[in-house]
């Protein structure tokens, strides 16, 4: 009771700060997701017919996922150009995290298409480019989008840790709250982050259902 009311009074007092941290957080996530999509979707399309490359690229993306997020942020700091303290490093780490779900779903979606459909497409004289863009890709779109949805939710969570390397966002409140042993501060970061994740999940879920064929 007491904690709840003090949380509310904190939120109303620091409304501006919370909003701007939420906006920073969303900016981090959106930039990281756009970069991850631009890398992982074409890569997924490229590896569909190349088994050797597929194994290598999915393994690499897998390795990024297994590195604890705080460690990944720390490991990136000393690397020239992409490293350092701040937003750029955070975005690089978030992209590395987001790659696997998108890459894997792109591959799974593109390769899981009914073989009769692909056989017909080939036999009717479609070029391999036409088969990829007019048949495989539209049919895989909802599966690819499911990967993007998973990656977005992961990224929203992991982005809170980016505050530790000075990237801003909702994590700022959480780390400050942990340092000051203040529940209100922790919740001021955690609750908006959770709400963002739920909202992203809901909206992307809607889109995914709309694009599903069959």
């Amino acid at each position: 009771m007491n904690a709840t009311s003090s949380y509310w009074s904190f939120l109303t007092e620091h409304r501006e700060e919370v909003w701007s941290a939420t906006a920073d957080h969303m900016t981090l996530v959106v930039i990281a997701m756009l970069i991850a999509i631009v890398i992982a979707v074409p890569l997924g399309m490229f590896i569909v017919q190349r088994p050797a490359l597929r194994a290598v690229s999915i393994s690499i993306a897998n390795i990024f996922q297994t590195i604890p997020s705080l460690a990944l942020f720390g490991l990136l700091i000393p690397i020239p150009f992409i490293g350092g303290i701040g937003r750029r490093t955070a975005i690089v780490a978030l992209v590395l995290y987001a790659l696997l779900p998108i890459l894997r779903n792109t591959y799974v979606g593109l390769s899981g298409i009914d073989s009769a459909v692909l056989e017909a497409a080939e036999a009717m004289g479609m070029t391999s480019g036409q088969i990829l863009f007019r048949v495989r890709f539209p049919l895989a779109l909802s599966v690819i989008l499911a990967g993007i949805r998973t990656a977005t939710i992961i990224t929203i969570g992991v982005a809170t840790i980016a505050a530790e390397i000075g990237a801003g966002g909702l994590g700022t409140f959480i780390f400050r709250g942990v340092a000051l042993v203040s529940d209100s501060l922790i919740l001021a970061g955690a609750v908006p982050a959770a709400l963002l994740a739920l909202l992203a999940d809901f909206l992307l879920g809607l889109l995914e259902r709309r694009l599903r064929v069959v």
């Binding site: 009769a116 459909v117 056989e119 497409a121 036999a123 009717m124 004289g125 479609m126 049919l139 064929v213």
Partner: protein
């Protein structure tokens, strides 16, 4: 030179000593030394058990596979020399379960090759309407449906319409009616026979059902383990002495849905 031109006008498809083996370590032979000519207007039925090489033979015609030895000629030209895309656009192809594109409407499925060939919207739409009527589907009712909203028989009709769209001289059919219930299958077989007689296409039809072969074929070619063991028009075929022919004839009496 003269002989070549003569060949071309008579035989739309010709296998010359064709062998095909899978290109792996085992080099399993799928087709061995097949020679076969298909003249214009023939409905040739390739009959055989599963694994006898019927589908492989079909896929050698539209260059989905290329022969390991020998040559497959289509319109007098080896499939290895054809641009595969051009070759396939002139060959209709119908498979079991139709292989319709689930994200396309019926009209878009049927209009695929005309669209790829850039016929233009009006001409394609007119052709799609004509074809749907040809296979017994009312365009007003079916054109905008998706394949999942069709029955198996309707889907197969759309598959036939799609294969005929660009008016190809050759039609390849791989057990097109195999997945249908017996009543629908018999219905489609009868209609297809009438259609084939009317359209004068050269048709190569794969089946393991002798009854279907007898109904549709102008000539039946029986395959066993990748070789042609018998070839004859339907009435003659029934009298052949080859053991594999006898095995198929014996199956007539016991086939499920035998009603003739």
């Amino acid at each position: 030179m003269n002989a070549k031109i003569k060949n071309f006008s008579q035989n739309l498809i010709e296998f010359r000593d064709v062998s095909f083996h899978i290109n792996d370590i085992l080099r399993r032979v799928v087709i061995s030394e097949v020679s076969l000519a298909v003249p214009v207007g023939e409905t040739l039925v390739l009959l055989g058990r599963s694994g006898s090489g019927k589908t492989t033979l079909l896929r050698l015609i539209n260059a989905m596979l290329l022969p390991s030895q020998g040559q497959v000629l289509v319109q007098g030209r080896s499939t290895g020399e054809w641009d595969p895309i051009r070759l396939r656009r002139g060959i209709g192809y119908v498979i079991q379960e139709a292989g319709l594109f689930p994200h396309f409407t019926v009209a878009e499925n049927v209009g695929l090759v005309p669209t790829l060939e850039k016929w233009g919207r009006c001409r394609t739409a007119a052709r799609v309407g004509e074809l749907l009527r040809l296979v017994g589907l009312d365009p007003a009712e079916f054109a905008d449906r998706r394949p999942r909203e069709l029955s198996g028989g309707q889907r197969q009709r759309v598959g036939v319409a799609r294969a005929l769209a660009a008016d190809p001289p050759i039609l390849l059919m791989d057990e097109p009616f195999g997945a249908l219930d017996p009543v629908t299958r018999a219905e489609l077989q009868r209609e297809f026979r009438a259609l084939a007689q009317r359209l004068q296409k050269t048709i190569v039809f794969v089946t393991h059902d002798l009854r279907e072969a007898l109904l549709l074929a102008s000539r039946i070619v029986l395959l066993e383990a990748g070789r042609i063991v018998a070839a004859a028009p339907p009435e003659e075929f029934l009298r052949l002495e080859h053991p594999e022919v006898r095995a198929f004839v014996a199956s007539l009496g016991t086939a499920p849905g035998a009603t003739v």
